[in-house]
Symmetry: C2
Subunit: 235 residues, 2 copies
């Protein structure tokens, strides 16, 4: 059993599995992403992942201490992709906007994985790299440290929180043929106007708006707020 997981860097022997594949943390995580996409956010099981890898489920415990650690590794993979799909321009506002959208997009590209991971701090390398980058942008813009930290906190939490929420409805839509969005059209559109006047009056607008993400709007609010803080700091 996996009394001790060998860290990826220290791995020397690479013994092929019975099916012939050679495992690695990276390929396990990649396969897990595929399994998640194909079988939904609750469909990632040790047995299924083992089958997809052509390996015994228990082999996974040679690479990760448990399904929980594997989950965190998946989250870190998404963070890595977010950072990979981003380049610095030097203009803080554009950079922060682009990074926020990159994070949001990276998670929404794998909604089933995002549901599992977006509401968890992993403490893994690529998540830390993202944190470092954000703080760098804010401090580079000239924000005093206490303000930078406050904005950083709101930024990362907001990005992850919306990623989790938006991924939730996206994954649900994938998995259950848009039950959720249908809810808006069916349930909300037919509420009696006398008991729910405001929903009734805006039902059309709601049905059009709810399937989209509120993240871009929230992000712009944060940028606006940050600009105001920056102006105040510069006085």
């Amino acid at each position: 059993m996996a009394k001790q997981v060998v860290p990826e860097g220290a791995r020397q022997r690479r013994r092929p599995t019975r099916a012939g594949t050679v495992l690695s943390e990276e390929m396990i995580v990649h396969t897990a992403l595929r399994v998640l996409r194909e079988h939904g956010s609750a469909g990632l099981t040790a047995r299924r992942l083992g089958a997809a890898l052509g390996a015994d489920p228990s082999t996974l415990y040679r690479y990760f201490a448990g399904m929980d650690e594997l989950t965190r590794a998946i989250g870190d993979e998404l963070m890595g992709r977010a950072l990979a799909g981003w380049t610095a321009s030097g203009e803080w506002r554009a950079d922060l906007r682009a990074l926020g959208r990159a994070i949001h997009a990276a998670y929404l590209a794998h909604p089933q994985a995002a549901v599992l991971t977006a509401s968890r701090v992993t403490g893994r390398p690529r998540e830390i790299a993202v944190d470092e980058t954000i703080l760098g942008i804010l401090r580079g813009a000239g924000l005093p440290d206490p303000v930078a930290v406050r904005v950083y906190h709101a930024f990362i939490d907001q990005s992850l929180a919306f990623a989790a929420l938006d991924a939730g409805s996206l994954a649900l839509a994938d998995e259950t043929r848009a039950v959720d969005e249908e809810m808006w059209r069916s349930t909300y559109a037919h509420l009696p106007a006398d008991s729910h006047p405001n929903i009734a009056a805006t039902a059309q607008l709601l049905a059009r708006r709810m399937p989209h993400s509120a993240y871009p709007a929230a992000l712009e609010m944060l940028l606006e707020h940050t600009a105001a803080q920056l102006a105040r700091a510069g006085e």
Copy 2:
């Protein structure tokens, strides 16, 4: 088996369980909240809830189609509590702020339950009542319908998203003796300054800030933004 779940309103016969308790949707949900608090967000199981109720696990299927529907009922209970802990003053900004904090507080009062439910739209009565209330505040303030719907969307998603995220770390803290917050103090505080200069420079501030919620700050940003929209609409 529960081929058909009898809706609570239509329930007529109330047969006591072997242990003598008389079940109802309400008491099942209440008991589930207790079980969640005592056993953590992953500790709500049909068998355990049955034991806590003094009933066979399969009895639950007479009241809910499955654990999933039970989960949604729990979420709706939290929404109901949020709305119950709120009173209208007539001033839109104060009302919206109070409602946002009430939602956030209601969820954080049951972090383990919030983790399970906050990232899901339930479509149940009390959630709808909250939606109606928010729209009422915004439209009552004089926002044009399209703007009201946009702000409503950002408001409810932001509130739920932060509730889920904050509840996550709160529940984790309860369950694993603050592993997460310790991460900030241990992992982040000891990153070398040459590879992570920005984290290193703000480590103290981060350790102080991260255990708190960024929701109040985000909420104020949304209120500010809404006020600006209102001023523009009034021109």
